[in-house]
């Protein structure tokens, strides 16, 4: 874990209204980061009471020593971050948490993203593509509210074109691809036995529905979850999620920052 108090912003672009792609120069972090890990960004150091915000690493360019964050503006912290300009400096800590893993023997993979949930999954696709392991089949399922918010479909298509599988898209309003939630595409893939290991990320309801679906079809999966976070290193016990499911049992909590943010889908109690 590295604390880089002066990481230069290489670029900040608006992808669609309310969604930004921020690229930061941080060679140490980008070279050691694994898909699924995150960084903590200090928001306007002058506001000395504003907590850092956690962002999963969206992609890395190890040669350039850069990493990117893909995020939606949802509150005060992300609003302030979205105003940061090229060549400004950010105080970041990372890489934090554990990443996605590919269990031995699992070759039929699916990636399912609800909206901005594609952020950490893209990095996983990047690594899979670089591995050039043609034994994998990869289905990538992308969900968005509307066609304007559907991003990265073309890039992922070319990134994964050497693998069997493919990219499928779904929009809530039907403006592109399947009309309906992306979980319907996931169910199709699972029902046809096209995936034995699913990586997924997105809104809480999407995670809950997807995890239940995996259980129904007997597929394994890993998900990346979000929780309000403070220290990011396991000291404050703020960002927990419950990991035992039975009601009436004494709850068992795990720290999203240290034990996650990637968990096996059957670990998390929704």
């Amino acid at each position: 874990m590295i604390h880089n108090p002066k990481a230069r912003i290489v670029s900040q672009k608006m992808i669609f209204p309310g969604c930004c792609l921020l690229t930061i120069s941080s060679p140490d972090i980008s070279r050691t980061a694994k898909p699924g890990q995150f960084i903590q960004v200090r928001i306007l150091p002058l506001l000395d009471s504003t907590l850092r915000r956690p962002f999963s690493i969206h992609r890395v360019d190890r040669e350039e020593g850069e990493l990117s964050l893909l995020y939606r503006v949802v509150g005060r912290g992300t609003a302030l971050l979205s105003m940061e300009k090229e060549n400004n400096f950010l105080d970041i800590i990372g890489p934090l948490g554990n990443g996605f893993t590919i269990p031995e023997g699992k070759k039929k993979l699916a990636i399912a993203a609800g909206g901005i949930g594609i952020a950490p999954l893209f990095f996983l696709l990047q690594e899979l593509a670089q591995s050039r392991n043609k034994d994998f089949s990869i289905y990538t399922l992308l969900g968005a509210r509307t066609s304007e918010e559907l991003i990265l479909a073309d890039e992922i298509t070319s990134l994964t074109d050497s693998f069997s599988g493919g990219v499928k898209v779904a929009t809530d309003d039907g403006t592109v691809g399947h009309s309906g939630p992306v979980t319907e595409l996931l169910e199709e893939v699972l029902a046809n036995r096209l995936a034995e290991m699913v990586y997924f990320c997105g809104p809480r309801d999407f995670l809950r529905v997807s995890a239940a679906m995996l259980e129904k079809y007997g597929a394994a999966g890993q998900l990346s979850i979000e929780e309000r976070m403070a220290c990011g290193i396991g000291a404050c016990y703020s960002c927990v999620c419950r990991t035992n499911r039975k009601k009436g049992e004494q709850p068992v909590y795990k720290r999203v920052c240290l034990d996650g943010p990637v968990f096996y889908s059957n670990e998390v109690a929704f």
Binding site: D48, S49, T50, L51, C231, I233, A235, Y237
Partner: protein
């Protein structure tokens, strides 16, 4: 002419325990001692106050456990901890390599529980002192009931003092009618020092979902928002009660820490700021050292309570 090179004395003594400098960490914000070792040379700190321990393992409260407010942080962790026995077995041995005071914090639901935990921790020479968390607002049947009552607070102190020779520091709650009255009561019961203040009780509501934000509904407010309240409390208690004070509540920089010291604190704790700047403790220490040098002050002890007798 005074030399800027002359190193001022930063060492302070609290309840017979020597601190190499007045900077400690606030309980609950610094884990069980070593989490911040990647950022901070822990041996440079005056002391580390650990997250509160209970007799049995405690799962903590349902999430969400925190919410950021204007200049503050609302939390309701619910004392999640592995229990004192697991702490002694799995965490305490690793603290041996840190050359600083380890202060264990104790929480409980009954005076006997505090005493039982204190008895276990009292056996270790790695523990320099005990802090009694009688003021955590987040446990339904726990801490708070002691912290708001002078007699119940005194009862906890007496039961702990009867079982251990370790110095006992009592952490006071600001959520009381008179913090001075509680301070007097625990002093009479044998407390060796005071930590103040704990968080201020509060809550936040999610207006879109029409429900409290925190899983536990109510929580405790920390961070810069509470600093003036804390400085004021230290000021009042320093005038009325003859016990050393560890001051805390919203400290983010050396100047904040110096405010507490001049109000009467002999040591200061950094809490919430660690989450924002993991090197905050060291930055505060460096800032205090620089202040002393720049102002020709040879000993930090000369500043304790200095604002009560302005030059």
């Amino acid at each position: 002419m005074k030399s800027l090179q002359e190193e001022p004395n930063l060492a302070v003594e609290i309840a017979g325990v020597k601190f190499k400098n007045p900077i400690v960490t606030a309980s609950g914000t610094f884990g069980f001692g070593k989490e911040y070792s990647v950022f901070v040379n822990l041996s440079q700190l005056g002391g580390i106050v650990l997250k509160s321990l209970t007799l049995q393992p405690c799962p903590g409260n349902p999430p969400p456990r925190i919410f950021e407010t204007s200049s503050g942080l609302l939390n309701s962790i619910g004392l999640e901890n592995p229990g004192v026995d697991n702490f002694i077995k799995f965490y305490l041995p690793g603290l041996k390599e840190i050359q600083t005071n380890i202060i264990a914090s104790i929480a409980g639901g009954a005076a006997e529980e505090y005493a039982a935990v204190a008895g276990r921790l009292g056996e270790s020479e790695l523990v320099s002192a005990l802090e009694l968390n009688i003021s955590c607002p987040n446990v339904k049947h726990g801490g708070m009931q002691f912290g708001v009552s002078p007699s119940a607070s005194a009862e906890v102190v007496k039961s702990v003092k009867s079982i251990t020779n370790k110095p006992v520091i009592v952490k006071l709650s600001p959520n009381v009618t008179s913090i001075v009255e509680i301070a007097r009561s625990v002093a009479a019961a044998g407390a060796d020092a005071l930590s103040m203040i704990n968080t201020l009780a509060g809550m936040a509501i999610d207006v879109y979902r029409r429900r409290p934000v925190l899983g536990n509904i109510k929580g405790g407010l920390s961070g810069p928002a509470i600093k003036p309240v804390a400085v004021g409390a230290v000021w009042d208690v320093y005038r009325e009660v003859d016990l050393p004070i560890i001051g805390m509540g919203g400290i983010t920089c050396a100047r904040d820490a110096l405010e507490f010291i001049m109000a009467g604190a002999r040591a200061v704790a950094a809490g919430t700021v660690n989450f924002i700047n993991p090197e905050a403790t060291i930055n505060i220490l460096e800032g205090i050292t620089l202040f002393l040098k720049e102002n020709g002050i040879k000993d930090i002890n000369d500043l304790v309570g200095a604002a009560h007798n302005p030059i």
